[in-house]
């Protein structure tokens, strides 16, 4: 077995460990009680959930994101980069068969994602509030994912980086359920509960503002 194959096995193992770990977290949380809300509806919880995942995520939907539009868009770009990296990993055996323009697009998206990640990492170290809020896990997670994306971009562009890419993929994915990166799972829980709560009460989407 050569180094490339070994690293590919590692990446596969990391992916499986990550997916299994996230599934375990999902199953553990789902095992907990979910109190049924029997209060009479004013709005529509389902509309609330739809809003929470669509219009409610728009940069203009919240005061916080209007105030920190650039930081929010940085975060969005960073996360687009992360999901692209996961997609790129899954299709990595077929990179050679992809049209050049797609490979170039992948490199660009991943490159931008890693730059945005680095910006986030630097902000976490230098900005007073973010530094005060951050725990070692936060710093590690953002730099791990940033370097992974950067190496992904390089690997799409140049095969010489493939081994590094697979090894970093293994580490990132295996770490996913262990540290803060697992918020990727809880994002879905959280926005769903948010949507149900505010949707039931006709706060979001608000009938007046939704017109």
């Amino acid at each position: 077995m050569n180094m490339l194959m070994f690293s590919q096995f590692l990446a596969l193992a990391g992916l499986l460990a990550g997916v299994y770990g996230i599934y375990r977290r999902y199953a553990e949380t789902k095992r907990r009680a979910l109190p049924a809300d029997k209060s009479p509806l004013k709005g529509n919880p389902q509309h609330g959930v739809t809003y929470a995942f669509t219009l409610g995520m728009m940069p203009w939907a919240k005061e916080s994101t209007r105030l920190h539009m650039i930081a929010y868009l940085r975060g969005i770009g960073f996360h687009i980069g992360i999901f692209t990296a996961i997609g790129a990993l899954i299709v990595s055996p077929f990179w050679g068969f992809l049209p050049a323009v797609l490979n170039l697009s992948l490199t660009v998206v991943l490159g931008i994602g890693s730059l945005l990640g680095a910006a986030g990492g630097v902000m976490r170290l230098t900005e007073h509030n973010l530094r005060g809020l951050s725990i070692p896990d936060d710093h590690f997670a953002v730099w791990l994912v940033t370097v992974w994306m950067a190496v992904s971009a390089l690997a799409v562009w140049n095969e010489a980086f493939l081994v590094a890419f697979y090894i970093l993929s293994a580490i990132t994915l295996a770490y996913m359920p262990l540290g803060k990166i697992r918020h990727c799972l809880y994002f879905f829980f959280s926005r769903t509960f948010f949507g149900k709560f505010f949707g039931r009460r006709a706060v979001f989407p608000h009938p007046e503002t939704a017109k």
Binding site: R32, K62, I135, F189, F193, V203, H206, P207
Partner: protein
Amino acid sequence: MTETIELALKTLEAQLNQPLETALEACARCGLCAEACHYYRAEPKVEHIPAYRSEQLRNVYRYEHDFLSRVFPAWTGAKKLDEVTLANLSEMAYSQCTLCRRCTVNCPLGVDTPLMMRAIRAMATATGNAPEILVMLADAAIEKGKDPSFYKDMFLEQIREMEEQLRDITGDPNASIPVEKQGTKILYVPLAGAHTILPPAVVFNAAKEDWTLSIFEAANYGVFLADVNRAKAVAKRIVDEANRLGVKEIVIAECGHAYASYRWDVPNWFAGQFDFKVRSLIEVLAEYIRDGKIKVDPTAIPEGVTYHDSCNLARNGGLIEEPRYVLNKITTDFREMTPNKAEAICCGGGGGLVALAEYTERRLAAGKPKADQIKKTGARVVVAACENCRLQIGDLNEHYNLNVRITALTDLVVRAMRLPKPLPGTEAEHLFEGEGALVEK
């Protein structure tokens, strides 16, 4: 581990359902919630960022539940709960968060920070770390429910006096305040005090409503304690009363937390025994005006009027347009604060804070963003449909020299009804005068 810590952790475990675990897990510590919090706006420091506050509970949760945190606590800030940490958590949850949920609506992930603050409040209540006065107020309410006979005669005597006043100011010799009348459509639940009985009585009589007055008050301090048993015991008085009287709906006085709990929580606490419609008095006012059941003078209030959205009524209760509908029918110069509605800034008086004298300084400081908002409108009258908000804005009025009048929505409606005589109190320039000064003898 001491018994206290064991009990605190047991209380946390008992509450750990899907929404709470999600709130404990979802935060990415992006810090975008900072300005959402009125404490942070008033004094921008890391400790006032909602994410920082929730992190204090997360540290305890992680120590108990997270594999990595157990192996390497420093990596995640995990911390074993001890007495000092519990005391600090309790103080934070009761004095630095009004449970307004403004951080939740501003969080990209929708993290429910107040849910975590409630979890801490419950831990504090279970272990005797909750503010004593909130416990006293909740227990006093429960006591009233156990044996109303010790005050019922006095209460009825006062109601008869109010009835005389009602007839005098309305000029209607048949106007009445029925108490615990069987089989009416509406059971109106006031707060303790004539100011939440007389003005609604004027409205109900004018609308020829089939109503009766509860002998209990809507306020529920068990809710602030996050103590479901106490909160249920307080609410049970009214649920039992409504069942006994066979009413169709319960109408809650202008009170934020009471409305939010009776409208959204009580139906869950008493599932199967609770078939009542719950409305706020604000919704009833809007209905009466819309249906022409009461006549109001649209030019009655010429002064600049602004409306403060109580967090429990608007963001957490869904009562957003109803008060505005009413105000637009009785005022000629209505001015919105910015931001408002679901994005409204908390006045700083919620979560039981107005009853906690030990935190007055913090409460007034945290109310500065609201005071600034009020000032910016240039309005002379601030309408708040929540008693705690009115008390807080009254204090802010004095503290920040706002020079405004603070009033309930119903009082303004009654003024717009152009009664033969003014309602006592509402024509006065001051509605919240008279501090209880301590005089040593």
